[in-house]
Amino acid sequence: MRFASLACVVAIVPSSFSAPPAESSAERTRELCAAILRGDAGWQRRAFDAFHGLVHGLLIKTLGPRAEIADLTGDVFVTFFASAHRIHSEHSVRSYLVSITMNLARRELRQRKRRALFQRFAGSVADYEQEAGADDPKAKAALRQLSRILDELATEDRVVFVLANLEDMQAHEIAEMLGVSESTAKRRVRRANEHVLKRVSRNALLADYVHTRKEWRRG
């Protein structure tokens, strides 16, 4: 049964995740997949080296600059190693990892909200695990504030926001991945975007910072 659901996951992950970026990379992924299926010695380390950046980046985008990202990255690979023998093609490796990562991120967000709730209940402060950001203090402050704004979103809305806006996934792909209808996915994307836009626009310093960044400008 789990094998069947895995095949389903593999099928729904978008091309941006499943398509290898370069020929050499595709070849490496193919070799890695074969190594996994054969159970070659050291395939775990090879998989870790090949996909650490992907998992790490996805977790940071989804969870923010948190101190526990490294540990969560390790957790993703522990899960992956336990079930990777079920993978049946080279395209599956990457997409399977993405699915595990987003699933873990979703659970982590829920747990974080529960912790925050209990911490409020217990009267303690909850944001101490935020990790220091970039060396540029403005960037550091902006990333933290943006992360706090994303923290305000419901878990599903946040995951949708990341997949749609930061990973450029289409609504139908998100819908399939999360097991919801396309209209639900679109509604969540819209709701998340509205919230983030409203909160950033009201924060004068943050809005100013977004304006001054050049990355979004085209031409």
Partner: protein, 407 residues
Amino acid sequence: MADDHEPLSERQISSVIRQLSSEHAARVVERDRARAWRRVELGARPAAAPPFSAGAGAGRVAMFVLAVAVAAGVLLGLGFRADSQLSYELSGATAQAGVIEARRGEATVSLSDGSSILAENQTKFSVDVVGRNSALTRLVSGRLHVRVQHNADTSYRFIAGPYEVRVVGTEFDLGWDPQRGLSLSMSKGEVRLIEPGGKLRTLGPGQSLQLPGLDRALSTLPAAPRAEAAKPAPTQASEQGERTRSMQQAATAASWDGLVAKGQFADVVREAETLGLETVLASRGASDLKALGQAARYVGKRALALRAFTALRERNRGSESARNAAFFLARLQEEQGNQAEALRWLGSYVSESPRGVYAAEAYGRRLSLTERLHGRVAALPLAREYLERFPEGAYAQSARAIAQPSR
């Protein structure tokens, strides 16, 4: 400010978040890679579930039941948490034999009571949990930004060279360089700073302080205690003088264990130095030597700690405290980077106390050091022995990885 610009768009915001996230990821990816792999090696219990699946109806019912149970457990846990021991998580650096060194940017110590210590790049320090809301941090060199969450029994101490900063709940920056000296800059709350001579200063919000480095700080100490410490024991002391000395020593001796229990390590070391280290090491009982060894270790005087535990072992041969001293000597040697010597002492400990109170840790450390120094083949019998004795022990995952490498 923002009003001077056109209204923001979702695309702009998303782009900035993506860019900032990528910049942050690029900055920490190498550091996090090592830590993530270490977690994999330890075989951490995965927090991640299998990928999304559509047909999880039965699972969701089970999840609901589980959630109810977890909610009840968490509510009960709130009461438990209030009594639990302080713990901390380190990120951005690795601890080598207890010493944390931030080598690639900032490192963060997040404590379970909500306090945090942010260490700047190139900062070396250690953190020891002393009690429920008590911790001792030893700043070897570098700079810390500290935020201590106030609780009824909070007691945080920061040792920087000869200085000690005592905190109840506050936010401040602490810097220490043995040559340049100490810098303390307060943001919130209040701290007390104790200078080597015992002088006490209290600093409040906005205040800052600069104090001299190690040599100058020690040169300002009163000469009397130093002279007394250096002076050999009198050969023909008067009866009255001897009795007074004995009474003083007895009074101090009775308090060393208590001082260590309260985290007043610097006081123990200071008293020992005042009385004269040679005298103390040659005359004090096992419990005092153990207290001195622990106190010296906590304030970073590892050479003194080694002397204390060595004296404890030599002067109390065959006793339990002497056997335990082997374990402490191993730990100190490892902290100093003398892994071979640490391994030798661990070997002594496990052969003398195979069922001692530190046996599980000693067997685990011995396994770990053997693998590091002599390779997996040499570690294999130790891994099997460990798994036989401590199948659920802290080093069981590592032992399994050695004993069953193909899994």
